[in-house]
Symmetry: D3
Subunit: 280 residues, 6 copies
């Protein structure tokens, strides 16, 4: 988990604890003595891929600096219902106060990793790579993208700032792909890649001529995609996008595209069911 | 939308824009001239209850201080698919750069309001009130709870800090409900209400004797709940919780409880489908 | 000393040290070698109740992380003139630079604790509890309220946000107590208590009928208070307020009110005389 | 009121409002409509010197950006009981929510100005100037010193950082005044003045020889002070300090000292009685 | 001047004004009345290219919100000694207090723009582009790079984060260019370009085979560079670096490289002489 | 290195690392394993005076908390080309990522110290002291002034806030030196020194009569300076300023002035050549 993910998690945890705990868990603080310590574990209650254990640990560690935390599986591991993910020990107060916040992160990120793994595994015999999109929840951008990688897929651009993506609105304003690319070339640092969304083979040809780095085949049928790949012939990387269901995935990969981007990886997250058990 | 919701939204918007836009929407900024303005609208693509328009407005206003924003419906209104929610006008850049972030908020909060309305409407002929729970997404606590109210339900406590809730772990540590309540009374300000989770009628009786403000009937069957309500006889407010499906809701309300709390209002959110259309 | 008091103290200490020490105690830093350490003690020079030792410690610890700090009495203890409150050891620089700031906190908070103890002790044979008010100094709200508790009294609401208090202005605008309570009930979370200020028995009756949680008997004479208590008959908690001098206190308590609130606990503070002595 | 006072006030106001109002004045917000505006005034209820009106204005302006604020007297003016200090108009909500915080500042600062004026007026026919000391309340350093000036006295150093003050501890460590001054001269910027505390005429002579900028005559009797002034003969500025009661002040000034410093200006503040009246 | 440059300038201006002005320009504030306004101008005292006028304006505007600022030339314009750059009007105080800070920025950035223009102009008949390097002053990274562009050169990567640059140390650790590129490919988002530093033609060949985006010819003589360009044959962009003096520049460009990077653009800055004149 | 220098360095380092490293040194992090440690040294490649080693250490320590850092010379030491300044050991990643930022600080500050030493050494047999000026780079004020002292010169005022300096503009507005001094005396704390810039002996006489603390002889020839010194006759400190080249320095010092201020110490900095060598 690199620095930027940790920082993003840190900010969200602070907000979550400030909202939920605020000036104190008044019930627990006034009933449970501060020195009592207990053991606990996180247990999977469904099959899936786990992501977010380090964030759950961060939550508890903010509440108990002396937390003991022993992960029984690695981030990104496939687990079965009943598998123990982590055994930990801390003050009874920390276990009670942090439980929900920790689970909130762990369940969402594991849900994303599980979904990503499903897509990535479906085409693992192709060279095609599964990418996520910008459809991440506000505040969770870096965490969601982290979970995607733990599930075995890869990240598209981080946002609007690190790669140029020419869409229909841009083409309309600029007066064509050629003009749009030229405008970008005269302003952008030479380190920035340029991608163009295309919906027809004519646009694909214009993109090839403009020497863009990546060409997106947007909402095309399989046959048109195949022709697009043929037309490009290695002169740019190729991304397929739009309506990318699990059913259709292998046919798309078989056209030879380099990437398939899937909004559903982060947009519609079904949390992985995980529960915390405190030992007596 | 009160100050605390606005502040929470403000923080999340800033994070979302920093993550997504960061140092700039490099495609749009280098292709779309800064002075071009366009009209746009948000349109419902499904039936539901709308919440979050002021947050969508905040997103665009951060990108264009001269935004014109005319809401066609009120927050909390029931809409049909095809209804226009808002007509607005701003720089073309702002419309393109802010679209996804604005929709992310609007769709989630409208999803929560829609779900809340479903539960509240189901028992509107009873005096019983639907409450949310602490199962809100990290960062979205105040926004989610705002949307719940727009849907016609009400908020339970904001977090662990503003009301005492004695659960099984607390009872175990304290050595009984009576002892737990006593510990709280000796420490808490007199402005703080005390609630106790009970699972048996014996516990209900102990809670009555301890003169708590609210008694939760947790995971009880309808018949036991009815006996609980009878036993309490107005000496405390009563909350029903656990497995509160839409199907079972009216039977629970019919027992005479004051509140029914529903984790699903904020925990499993199905976004309401809404799209942005920019006019030519 | 809980987290919120520590945070508030931390902020004030930082401001105080920035104002007083700023870029450095230029006299001490250029004359006293950094490695010299000395022993010192804080000594009471008057009888009273001590509060604020942990804050004095925080001041010195910010100036010397290796401070040794041995409290000879507990927070809230009654001391006699000449009693040693704490023995400590640190760099000579820290002792000189932090002395005034540390004493400033310690003397004020001990002054508040001493005053609070006087009031609380005066009616300790009654069930009535002494409460503070919102008349705390800007910046010192949480510290002042902490000292009140150390002196043996209790805290009223923390501010305008955690409990509703209907005053004459509110009643006038709403058009009566009943209407004011109704307005609050329709908006406030069910965790918030409602109190009403009353000045006549007619208002007391209206408050009882509106089922408020607490009724304040404001500036009433003893006889009227007694009638108010009788009228309420346990259907709400009762607070007496206004002109609550030490002389009058026992008569008020004898009426059976639950709380007596005293602005003077924090409003007019006579610092407890305490001095720092550095050993040779 | 210069920038640094405004900044310090701003910080304290924010803390005070966060503590007192926090997420909202829940009573007022739910009862008083946001659009109602009212007129109000601040009225002196005792004779004194007024300071802090701009801070009171800042408090209300944070709650109502459209506040109308017409001061009827100038900062530093002498007022009689009954005099109107300021007439203002704002939302009814702002008037109710900000009242106590505004008065807290205004009463304390006017108390300091009143006390400072008493001392300054007592010796206004001498060239001697009254100075304050470092005995200011944590957080209020700059505000207290501002009020001192409004009362007609002047400020000593701002803190430990902007002027060197050699005290007995420093003399002991350095091994004499001469050595202490030498240590400072070799380190301090040439813009920094050096003052020495002396308690004997022998020390005064040593200070003269060391060519310090200011010599403090600490806790000396009138006769010794007179000899000290004679001995110094204009070769340094002279400050008298210690036990400077109003009774003794003119005798001290008559010795010819340049400054008399008075801890009591800010240390033991009796608030000036001022009240807010809202018109119907 | 885009948002990131403005933000960086804002931070530096705040630090500079805090350091220089701090709590006030005590001479000016106590002598020059606040309401006096004066006209002034910035005049070039040497030939060069101007950059940084918007930053100079920001400095003055922080001191006078009503500043009038009329630029007589555009950012990036070539000026002669004696040319007026800007005419402005503000409070006399702002003109005196802000002068040095404004000039500090303006002179440095104009110095960089002037130097960049010299290099860019020298090869303007080639397709080769001049790039800056990471040798920018701490705090001035974004400002320095802004000035480079105003002078007619372009920016290399912003830092270590937005483009991969494989250097000798990386090659050594990875065990060759091929291995290093492979390690990057497996981790980096697909939006990130990869460049390799090469010092021999053998390395150039290895880089070609690894399909990197850019190949740096580091410290090669003209003849080797020419061979490198021939070898690469359009399969990657080419950057020349090391010892790139003005004298040698055209020969390097003539080899056909795409970019020449020059540390001296920002590393050794000779300020452009500019002075402020206040009218009587 | 005192607290204020460390704080200023800390801010600049954070900005520099955020700009340069940002979300990560993506090349190094993906190629160099995190656990590899290496030894390195900083070596002088020219003769000079070294300043800034603690800042270089701070840079690396932010990247590796376990850094080992052994300085072989003291801050302010004269070194010869080839001398080792410091031997250190850290993670290979930290050595690569921090190298340029560390050198940037070290080279600039050593350049300033070297220049300052040249001036200070040139007149070391006089009592005259070399002072710097306000001509420091934005953000580097405190660091530059620190380096000046390490080179053996001293600091003039820190900025516009800590000493009054009456210049021609102030004299013009006030209507003379006497009036300007009087305006300052009535407003400034008694701890603040007053200096006046004079260009004629008549002004010098006026400054003497106004009893200012320091008189600046601005841009005078040697003979006039000598007369000025004679005229002042010890009644004020004397600063010479304007066109103070190394050649002219001893003649100026011989006039008997107390200080000579030199803008060039910090304004035109030639970095001292220093390089980092990582051992295999």
């Amino acid at each position: 988990m690199n620095k930027k993910v940790i920082e993003a998690a840190n900010i969200l945890i602070d907000i979550a604890l400030r909202d939920d705990v605020g000036e104190g868990d008044i019930t627990t603080e006034n009933i449970v003595p501060s020195e009592i310590r207990r053991k606990a574990k996180m247990v999977a209650k469904a099959d899936g891929v786990v992501a977010g254990l380090p964030i759950a640990e961060m939550v508890f560690r903010k509440l108990d600096a002396n937390l003991i935390w022993k992960e029984k599986i690695e981030e990104g591991a496939h687990v079965k219902s009943g598998d123990v993910l982590v055994e930990f020990e801390g003050t009874y107060r920390a276990l009670l106060t942090g439980e929900r916040t920790a689970l909130n992160f762990l369940q969402r990120l594991s849900g994303i990793a599980t979904m990503s793994a499903k897509y990535a595994d479906a085409i693992k015999d192709f060279h095609t790579v599964i990418l996520d999109t910008r459809k991440t929840l506000p505040g969770f951008n870096k965490l969601d993208k982290y979970a995607v990688k733990k599930g075995g897929a890869r990240n598209h651009r981080q946002g609007l700032h690190d790669m140029a993506m020419i869409k229909d609105n841009h083409i309309e304003v600029a007066g064509g792909i050629t003009a749009a690319v030229k405008a970008l070339r005269s302003s952008l640092d030479h380190s920035i890649k340029i991608e163009v969304e295309t919906t027809t083979l004519a646009q694909v040809q214009e993109a090839i001529d403009a020497k863009v780095d990546i060409i997106m085949l947007d909402n095309m049928d399989i046959e048109t995609m195949r022709k697009g790949v043929e037309l490009i012939a290695g002169r740019a990387k190729i991304e397929a996008s739009g309506n990318m269901t699990l059913e259709r995935l292998r046919d798309v990969a078989a056209t030879g595209v380099d990437y398939i981007s899937i909004g559903a990886l982060t947009h519609s997250v079904t949390a992985l069911d995980i529960s915390q058990r405190i030992e007596d």
